[in-house]
Symmetry: C2
Subunit: 338 residues, 2 copies
DNA sequence: AGACCCGTTGTTAACGTTCACAGTCTTGCC
DNA sequence: GGCAAGACTGTGAACGTTAACAACGGGTCT
């Protein structure tokens, strides 16, 4: 028995003594090594229970070189998209027995991403997921800390990391095609910031769908994802004569557009049809309920962990994968025939 | 020079050899111990730079017993409130030089919280922040792993952990008082789930404000924070005759209420006034823009880290603190005189 | 019967850092 | 000139785990 003042948590050696075996046998039981006699295992387990032993993961990580921790670098986890993605990542990681260490960046510039990566590398993470929706972030992945498996979510082609993303181009196409199929002459677009790859993808899909039908693409209106920027774009659109259909690059901006239209007396969908992007939980209850393109953020998170674990747990040089999650069209009440 | 195939990252001993000092001196330089000669320090720093040495935080944690990692347990980080709080926590923690390890729970029941806490304790976190808005989560804090400093965010009184929270009662009062002061006879309430402390607090504030003016409190309508539940409550309210003012327990449900009113032709604020809670980024662009109660989630996150670090870095038994962040009233266009 | 294998267990040595302590070399001061 | 105090540096031993290897016993095969 230890002294009364022995507040030190029990270690493997204590368990070993209690069970009358060597510490190595305890280790074997803990790691489910096959070659341990059933009775011995039971005795060890009992001793563990009795002493309330918990294995020290730090010591373990020191010798195995694996921390069973994954790093996540993300941009503004307050936004619905990143928040959902990170949530999916976290759940998938924990289900696989990994911890998740998170770094949220305020602005994603090259040095910010580099710092975050270094920070995580110091902590000896086994792998890193970078939610890198901006071009600058994607570029920062080019000069990665070698040796640490990495997956980019929504990232570009830069560097040779695996990428998991939603097919933004297809999403833009879906939205635009829907509006054209209703009979609209052309479709206007309120786009996201130009340094966001997602914004570019949606623009590209919009243009492609328009081109396919031989329609002229009007000049897109610039937004920054915020409802306010959508509101301002909406005021501009409301003052134009020939606008009958608008594809807005995310639901928050679409809300702003709807608000501006309401203020100006433009009726949706009677006079103008609006399609959003993301399918945030609120969109269904906008006035009118918003037709939009759904991104399955949960799937993106799960897949990114799958790809990452394949790299971590597989051996040898990892193949660079590219996994694309398809978006889906959600029909509601904000679109109609012109 | 190491061999050509020497891919092993450099350790302290390598730096020491390179600089012609002992490993302990390298350690001293790294830890900014004062008693190192300037020239020696320079030589060590140079060697570190040359070899690209990075200190192994795992080995360090093993001996110091400090991982410089904080654990965060949260419920559904997809919701705006928790997401913003966790974001604030993460930023404040990193600014203080701590890593943040996150566990998101799907449902907060007692055993779920316990598991999460154990999980984090295994990882040897230096402290834990539990975002525990539900009664059951608050209860789970009662049987905490001893020895690990813990702070509850939005938690109740249970257990003897420090608490940082927004004054929900005051928020409920603010909303209700505003409506009464406009001249409404009474104020209806769409409440949050009954196992959420925040929901209870808002109900209490609403009742208190009503009682203060000697008004009868109508039966509150139950919601679950989702826009849909707000929508359903809104339909009920729309079918009642004497409803002129509604205080909705969060902005998402308020959106649902507005939607239901719009569908039924109930004009806001002309016929009915609506006040929300949270001030999510979207509320300003609802139709009409929503009068609401703002919670400063960022401040909550920052304060929780301050309290936690005070416990970690201070010595001796920590005093149990209780820090209350005041909510604020945001006036927009969804309220008017009856 | 002896060699050999395999299941089971123990012994010893890492892993890379910090801590405790013991030196050595200055420096200042009587 | 000697001595104490302090600055600076080095040595050895932790921290708690897993890896590598050795040792032992009983069974099987020849």
């Amino acid at each position: 028995m230890g002294s009364i003042r022995d507040r030190r948590p029990p270690v493997m050696a204590d368990v070993a003594k209690e069970a009358g075996v060597s510490h190595q046998t305890v280790s074997r039981v803990l790691n489910e090594h096959p070659n341990v006699r059933g009775e011995t295992r039971a005795r060890v387990l009992e001793a563990i229970e009795k002493l309330g032993y918990r294995r020290n993961l730090v010591a373990r990580a020191l010798v195995t070189k694996h921390s069973r921790t994954l790093g996540v670098v993300s941009f503004d986890t307050t936004l619905y998209g990143p928040a959902s993605t990170v949530y999916g990542i976290e759940r998938a990681a924990r289900a696989a027995g990994y911890f998740v260490s998170i770094v949220s960046l305020k602005s994603i510039d090259r040095s910010g991403v580099r710092d975050a990566l270094d920070y995580l590398a110091d902590q000896a993470v086994d792998g890193i997921v970078v939610v890198a929706p901006q071009r600058s972030a994607a570029e920062a992945l080019a000069d990665l800390p070698v040796g640490v498996p990495t997956v980019a979510v929504e990232g570009g082609e830069a560097g040779d990391v695996s990428v998991v993303c939603v097919d933004q181009v297809e999403g833009g196409r879906l939205a635009t095609r829907h509006l054209l199929s209703l009979g609209h002459e052309t479709v206007w677009h309120v786009r996201g910031p130009s340094d966001w790859l997602e914004a570019e993808g949606r623009v590209a899909g919009w243009r492609a769908a328009l081109a396919l039908e031989g329609r002229e693409a009007p000049e897109p209106l610039a937004g920054d994802w915020s409802p306010r920027s959508g509101y301002e774009a909406g005021r501009s659109l409301a003052s134009m004569r020939d606008v009958t259909a608008v594809f807005v690059a995310n639901d928050q901006m679409a809300l702003g557009v709807l608000r501006a239209f309401t203020e100006r007396g433009v009726r949706v969908p009677d006079q103008v049809s609006v399609v959003g992007f993301d399918d945030i939980p609120e969109s269904e209850f906008f006035s009118p309920p918003l037709t939009t393109i759904r991104q399955d953020f949960g799937a993106v998170g799960r897949h990114s962990i799958e790809v990452l674990l394949r790299q971590i747990e597989g051996q040898g040089p990892w193949a660079r994968e590219r996994l694309v999650v398809p978006p889906s069209f959600v029909s509601r009440a904000s679109t109609a025939r012109p």
